[in-house]
């Protein structure tokens, strides 16, 4: 763990004002006392130990830190933890239980939708929101929806296939 991370974990000192936030994370109510400047990504990773949310570029470009905020994909490095007070947040850990896979996770496994895996949680959450809004997307629609998420292994081909695989699986599940 880097020095910066440790610094923020030790904060806040006694004289620094904090706010209590209460957030429903992956269906479970969590509370924390945070400095207003703490980013949502860091609250999730360091206070709640949900390290599936990756901080990639830290500049709002890459989308690796994407989480669902009241069901909508947001970049958690570009939101303050205090802004999540009273809201629902879903991270990649919340897609399925610990011993099962969500169809989107199955799709990434089946279609080899990851290489290094760093962008994968963000891709999966952006895809989850897409398939909720549009259960039968075209390839173009998948590419459009994922265009805020960067994969530096350049594995987009298989990422798109994975999401289309998941769409089919989810449709057959809802049909049966």
């Amino acid at each position: 763990m880097s020095g910066l991370n440790e610094e923020i974990r030790e904060l806040p000192a006694a004289d620094v004002p904090t706010r209590r936030v209460s957030i429903t994370v992956n269906g479970e109510k969590r509370t924390a006392d945070v400095e207003p400047r703490l980013l949502l990504a860091h609250l999730l990773r360091q206070a709640f130990r949900l390290t599936g949310t990756h901080t990639g570029c830290d500049t709002s470009n890459c989308g690796a830190c994407t989480v669902l905020y009241d069901g909508t994909p947001v970049k958690s490095c570009t939101m303050l933890a205090v802004q999540a007070d009273g809201h629902q947040v879903t991270t990649v850990e919340g897609l399925a239980g610990p011993s099962e896979l969500h169809p989107i996770q199955e799709g990434f496994s089946d279609e080899h939708g990851l290489q290094c895996g760093f962008c994968t949680p963000g891709m999966m959450l952006a895809a989850t929101a897409l398939l909720r809004e549009n259960p039968d997307p075209t390839e173009d629609e998948v590419r459009w929806a994922l265009s805020g998420n960067l994969c530096r292994c350049t594995g987009y081909q298989n990422i798109v296939k994975s999401v289309l695989w998941a769409a089919k699986k989810l449709q057959s599940q809802s049909a049966s």
Partner: protein, 293 residues
């Protein structure tokens, strides 16, 4: 990256928010979508003492069309709301074309049109669109409400005309007289990058005759460029291939691009010329197809 320390308030009413800004005495910033402000805080280009988060204010997430066609966009209307709008297509083609091109899909879920105007980035798409459309911004502060034309509102690069106790609550796009036409085109190296160049064109047509035109340029100068000469050249007659080429040349002349890693000044000027020509040619074709010549 971590922002400097600041105090955070999440008021529940606009009056409470304005009181916080007034008491902040110029050291407070309004947080709406945060998609430009939070990165600036993280880079410590901005270090306000107080953040006033307006996301909890009720009734600001709208975009509506008045019966006469005036479009109003509230301070918490996200880019994604405009991208999915049922109101804009057919009614306001320049805005409809721009909404899906702002940043990337995830940023569009949070960022707001009004916030983009306040941020006044020369690379911002909405300032060009609202400039081409001749819109204005409604500010609310201690002394009530006032309406600020966009040319005054965007007072310079990253500068707006708001008083420190004022919140931009609404952007207003006047109703077109006749038929609205136009569009927005942007060249970017990849989705979400700042514009290499962008062009907004807004026309009002009476039959085939252009009665009003606005052309504004993104990312090719120290601030949003209002290419008034180019626009004015179109007014008073129908769109013609020669007229379009003339306007495109004037727009390219109005651009003040700088050579950088996104391209040479010459290249960006060429993009401006091409985009103006492309948008106007499409408008001319659709006018002819609808039998208005």
């Amino acid at each position: 990256m971590y922002p400097s320390r600041f105090r955070y308030e999440a008021p529940r009413s606009i009056d409470e928010a304005i009181a916080l800004l007034r008491d902040g005495g110029g050291e407070a910033k309004v947080l709406a979508g945060g998609q430009s402000l939070v990165p600036l805080l993280k880079l410590r280009f901005a270090a306000p003492e107080l953040l006033v988060d307006i996301n909890g204010l009720p009734g600001l997430d709208y975009h509506t069309a008045d019966p006469d066609g005036t479009i109003r966009v509230g301070a918490l209307c996200r880019h994604a709301d405009l991208e999915r709008s049922a109101i804009l297509p057919g009614r306001q083609p320049t805005m409809a074309a721009a909404a899906p091109l702002v940043a990337d899909p995830i940023v569009r879920n949070r960022g707001t049109l009004v916030g983009s105007l306040c941020h006044a980035d020369p690379q911002g798409d909405w300032a060009s669109v609202v400039t081409a459309l001749g819109g204005h911004v409604v500010a609310q502060g201690t002394n009530g409400r006032r309406s600020i034309p966009i040319a005054e509102f965007v007072s310079g690069p990253f500068q707006n005309a708001l008083g420190y106790d004022e919140i931009a609550v609404e952007a207003v796009i006047p109703a077109p007289k006749g038929t609205a036409a136009g569009g927005y085109l942007k060249l970017e190296r990849r989705v979400g990058d700042f514009a290499t160049a962008g062009v907004a064109v807004a026309l009002e047509l009476s039959g085939a005759v252009v009665t009003r035109a606005g052309i504004a340029l993104t990312g090719v100068g120290g601030s949003t460029i209002d290419a008034t000469d180019a626009a004015q050249a179109l007014v008073g007659g129908p769109l013609t291939a020669d007229g379009i080429r003339g306007a495109a040349d004037l727009a390219a002349q109005a651009a003040r691009p700088r050579t950088d890693h996104r391209g040479s000044a010459e290249y960006k000027r060429h993009i401006v010329r091409t985009f103006v020509e492309r948008i106007l040619t499409r408008a001319m074709q659709s006018t002819r197809e609808s039998g208005q010549t």
